[in-house]
């Protein structure tokens, strides 16, 4: 069957083209890592704004989160790929061929994922019982102290599984950056290698990417669970 032939071709194709594949994977990892770290930090701020009594901060966060959550990631990427560079170049009088696409894509990605993280974090904060606030303020802590020292640590501990799931979704989402010409894992395999070599190489490469993503997405949560299990002893 042809399918087995395409699968059998994968090792040779990978061996012959590993530098660009590694480069692609590196970009995928960089985007994932940045978006998770910055996304959680910015997401926490957004969640705190949503929970604050300040009307301006509150509505800003609300509009931000609602907007990002109601439009597709692909549309966000287009905003940051087409429109933002145009505006930045206009503002800073950069030449038309200055390359700020990659950074724009990473920023877009991070801002988008932060909206999803903020909802998870907000739910986590809300799930900490009211009694904990009362207990903290009864001990004389200020609002920000009780948030920092009492509420957030508990909330984050409870949220770890959800944050991890969102991290996996985010990792899968990164495959979309190849649509705006970035060479991530998918871009490197399918667009660079597959289409260049032609014939059935493209099929082999699509299958290769599918398998790679599957192994990482299926394995990572299990690996993390195992490590944390061993840590606990």
């Amino acid at each position: 069957m042809q399918l087995f032939q395409w699968i059998a071709d994968i090792p040779t194709l990978v061996m012959n083209n590993y530098p660009i594949l590694l480069q692609g994977l590196w970009l995928t990892v960089r985007i994932t890592f940045t978006a998770i770290v910055v996304g959680i930090i910015w997401g926490t701020f957004l969640a705190l704004m949503r929970l604050s009594n300040n009307k301006i901060l509150n509505s800003f966060a609300k509009i931000y989160v609602t907007t990002f959550r109601s439009i597709p990631l692909l549309l966000v990427l287009m905003w940051f790929y087409f429109a933002l560079p145009q505006m930045i170049k206009h503002l800073f009088h950069l030449g038309p061929d200055a390359d700020i696409g990659t950074s724009c894509a990473i920023i877009a990605f991070t801002l988008f994922e932060a909206a999803y993280y903020s909802e998870i974090i907000r739910a986590g904060i809300n799930a900490v019982s009211k009694g904990q606030y009362h207990a903290a303020s009864a001990l004389g802590m200020t609002r920000s102290q009780s948030m920092r020292l009492i509420i957030l640590p508990q909330a984050f501990r409870a949220m770890v599984p959800l944050l991890l799931t969102q991290g996996i979704i985010l990792f899968q989402d990164t495959a979309l950056v190849s649509t705006i010409g970035l060479v991530d894992l998918l871009g490197a395999a399918v667009k660079r290698i597959g289409e260049n070599i032609g014939s059935t190489a493209e099929y082999s490469m699509i299958i290769f990417v599918a398998i790679t993503y599957f192994i990482i997405c299926f394995g990572t949560p299990r690996l993390i669970r195992k490590i944390s299990y061993f840590k606990k002893g």
Binding site: Q2, L3, T66, T67, S70, I71, P72, L73, L74, L75, M78, W79, F82, A83, Q86, M87, H90, I168, Q172, D173, A175, L176, S178, T179, L186, V190, E202, Y203, I206, I207, V209, A210, Y213, F214, C217, F218
Partner: protein, 245 residues
């Protein structure tokens, strides 16, 4: 920078009216893609979700395998597989009909809908499973004690309550499927809402205006779905209960 905000009320160079018609067509395409995929996702997701809750090891394992497979590969990659590879496995007169007689846009539509449907079905399966498993075990006992068969227990007792319970998460899956349908724009030049952006930009060179309008369109669709589903939730809510189930 100057903006051309009346762009969508200007005529297209093709004599098919104003650009606003293009927008409506694209919005329709987005919604049809999402609706077709939703039907696939809902049916398969329900079947697989139910398989997760019956006491048969084989069915259980099959369902787990299905869910893990479809949720651990990015949707974009899955669409690649369906769009590029799957048609090669068609055979005989069906292949001839599919590839030669069917309109290419319809071919693309079918293939990406299947991909989107299967991807979403794995997520719906998990929700259906949770919906069933979080019902009190006594409900199962009571139905069994009355002599209802397994099928009847699911049909009349467990499923009506489970679905009621998961209306909110199904709503968010619905908005997800609409957003995810945008990935179809990357295949066969399908001109749903995101696909419209590049093709219209080529014509008019007014990217910011187009992006603004498309963004607002998505927000309107999203808001409408949530409003409709809130109504559904209210309608299906049982009297004197905080939430269904």
């Amino acid at each position: 920078m100057t903006f051309n905000w009346t762009l969508f009320f200007q005529s297209t160079p093709y004599g098919d009216g104003i650009y606003f018609n293009w927008l409506l067509n694209s919005a329709m395409l987005t919604l049809s893609l999402a609706a077709t995929a939703w039907i696939i996702a809902f049916i398969l997701g329900s079947i697989v979700g139910i398989m997760r809750t019956v006491d048969s090891k084989i069915l259980n394992r099959l369902a787990i395998g299905y869910i893990e497979l479809f949720r651990n590969i990015p949707l974009f990659v899955q669409m690649f597989i369906w769009y590029t590879i799957m048609p090669l496995f068609l055979t005989g007169s069906f292949k001839e009909w599919f590839i030669q007689e069917l309109d290419p846009d319809i071919q693309t539509f079918i293939l990406v809908s299947i991909a989107l449907g299967l991807f979403t079905s794995a997520r719906i399966a998990e929700q259906v499973r949770t919906g069933i498993q979080t019902l009190p075990i006594g409900q199962r006992y009571a139905a069994t004690a009355l002599g209802l068969s397994k099928f009847q227990t699911y049909r009349y007792i467990l499923l009506p309550n489970a679905y009621r319970k998961i209306v909110p998460t199904l709503t968010s899956e619905m908005t997800n499927i609409i957003k995810n349908s945008s990935i179809a724009s990357q295949f066969g030049g399908l001109r749903e809402l995101v696909g419209l952006i590049t093709s219209m930009n080529d014509q008019t060179n007014s990217i910011i205006e187009i992006l603004c309008v498309i963004t607002i369109t998505y927000m309107i669709i999203n808001y409408s779905v949530i409003t409709i589903m809130r109504f559904v939730e209210k309608k299906t809510r049982l009297p004197n209960m905080m939430s269904g189930g």
